[in-house]
């Protein structure tokens, strides 16, 4: 019994299947199965194809992993430098005299180190006070303690994205106040 065999019109793995068949020995496997369609031939063909498919999958998966790890690595590096620069530029707590310490003190935190304490400009401390408690906490954790957004998110039971947005909005708000000054 000779059967003609064609590809189905839009199958999901079509391109992969075609490149699979571009190899002569795979083609022969297919022909052998078509000429003599039994369970054993089908298994061989299927196994060879799956191996071919996973090989491709792994290769692209691994390459992508390598690529993105490298990109992420640099990003993290830059962020780290950026952040540390900022904390070096920031005035230390000894520099701020007691009279200038803002009255903001989040009550339920273990440590009382807060950005509010370090602010020496009147304008900034009034802007700081107009932020919500949560925003102040997040900014403290991020800039004073150097936590990542993800870690802060875990503390507050929120996603990293939410924290990032909250932080951005707080900074934006302060910039906005500054522009209006």
């Amino acid at each position: 019994m000779v059967s003609a065999c064609k590809y189905q019109s839009p199958p999901p793995y079509h391109a992969l299947w075609q490149s699979f068949l571009r190899e002569q020995k795979n083609k022969e496997l297919l022909y052998r199965y078509v000429r003599n369609p039994n369970e054993q031939q089908r298994k061989i063909l299927e196994q060879t194809f799956h191996q071919f498919m996973f090989e491709r999958r792994f290769l692209s998966y691994f390459s992508k992993t390598i690529h993105y790890t490298a990109v992420q690595f640099d990003k993290r590096e830059r962020r780290f430098l950026d952040r540390n620069q900022r904390s070096l530029d920031a005035p230390t707590s000894e520099e701020a005299s007691p009279t200038e310490i803002s009255s903001v003190k989040p009550a339920h935190r273990e440590s009382t180190n807060t950005l509010g304490d370090d602010i020496s400009s009147d304008f900034l401390s009034s802007a700081w006070e107009r932020l919500t408690k949560k925003q102040q906490q997040v900014l403290d954790l991020s800039f004073v303690y150097g936590y990542t957004d993800t870690e802060i998110g875990e503390k507050f039971n929120q996603s990293q994205q939410a924290i990032s947005r909250l932080k951005q909005r707080a900074l934006q708000y302060m910039r906005h106040l500054y522009a209006q000054k």
Partner: protein
């Protein structure tokens, strides 16, 4: 497949072994990916390349350990009998 062992076999091997015994298999995988890794190192500055290489290796190890297998498509989907 050819002279090199296939990724499929290697990853399966990785997942069947205890963590301490995976070293050799992992080494084979990394060796196959070596050119790609080296290429990726140019992404960063020369003095950070060693760190990045280590980072990539760790990541690849995690990725192979945690790989979730999915079923491949049935072969009959590609063959239409007439």
């Amino acid at each position: 497949m050819q002279q090199e062992p296939a990724f499929t076999t290697l990853v399966q091997e990785m997942q069947n072994l205890e963590h301490q015994e995976q070293e050799e298999t992992l080494e084979t995988i990394l060796k196959r990916l070596e050119p790609k890794i080296q290429q990726a190192l140019y992404q960063t500055t020369p003095d950070r390349r060693d760190d990045l290489e280590q980072e990539i290796r760790i990541k690849l190890m995690e990725v192979t350990r945690n790989y979730q297998w999915k079923e491949g498509p049935a072969i009959d989907q590609f063959v239409r009998w007439e």
